[in-house]
Amino acid sequence: MKNNGLEEDAGDVFQDGVVVLFERLNSPGFVLSCSIKTFLYAVCRNIWLKKLRIHKQIPTHIKDFENLYDIPMIDEDGIVSHQNKDKLENALKQLGERCQKLLESYYFLKHSMKQIAENMQYTNEDNAKNQKYKCLQQLKVLIKN
């Protein structure tokens, strides 16, 4: 809020920070080498700096933690083209809830097929894998349409 932000922005950035923490904790090999508070602060700081850069606003007071705990942030927003993004979002909305959950578990949470089979009560890993393939094909069809 000291850097051109509103209370709503702070809440939004904090939620983004928690999502990043959640993703990192699910990434294999991730080791948290500082307190969660420090990690969250550093992540939120990066997110806010990125937002300021997008809106061409210059930060004034974000000096702390500058080089203390630099979290590399991969900007995934620009990977998918704007045109495809809308199409994909719509296709995902039309995809069944169970398929959405299956793909999210594998792509976002990076769960193994074994974990997914257990969590989603598939009979075995192969069955879950087969189901994932079907969901993917279904999504591709929705994207084309």
């Binding site: 702070a10 495809n84 959405q100 792509y107």
Partner: protein
Amino acid sequence: MNSEEQDIDLIERFFREELNSEELNSFEQRIKTDSAFAGEVIAMRDIFYSVKANARANLKLELAAIQNSIPQNDFKKYNPNKLKIIKWVSGAVIVAAVITGISFWYINGGHKTIRSFQSGDTLEQTDSLIENATPGNSSTPPGPTIIKDPSDTSLSRYKADIRFEVKDPESFKIRRLGFENGLYKFEITADGKTFEVSNPNPDLDKVLLKKAQEGNAALKDSITMQPLERVDGIDN
């Protein structure tokens, strides 16, 4: 598993960063040489990142719902303006305190530099510090004289006799400023002028008063001179 399924599995493992270096080299080589495979990688890339973005958005919605379920009254609202006001008020108080301190110090003569007197120094008429304080002598200038007799043996141990011609005795005021090299430094105000004199007697004001009363019967009746202010600031 057919070849298409195998390719999808490979591409998914690439995006999940599970390929070893050998697989990764082969994967990159195939993108360069197999345009159909490259097209599939791009399509899968869009799906992969869209699914992730969608999952993030869903997670944020869940977090917002959790946040909204918590009573907001439990939190102190962050008010940056309040912090600004506190900072400004604190700053103003500090500045006011500094100004008051400096004024107090200035009014009380703290800014005056007292000349260092060396042991054995005597006050000379030409000494700018004593200005109108003159060595006592027998020639009596006009006007009331407080210490007028240099033959007064009671003051013989002093480095100098001091004579003041005070037109308005009630304006007489003496302050002690410091102590250095065996001499006490006094600021004496009389007739609207300020003098700095050095004297070995710590109670110069009392001596002057006594002399005024004892030395001249006429003065004794006409002058009721009292030190108006006395500040002890001796640096021993």
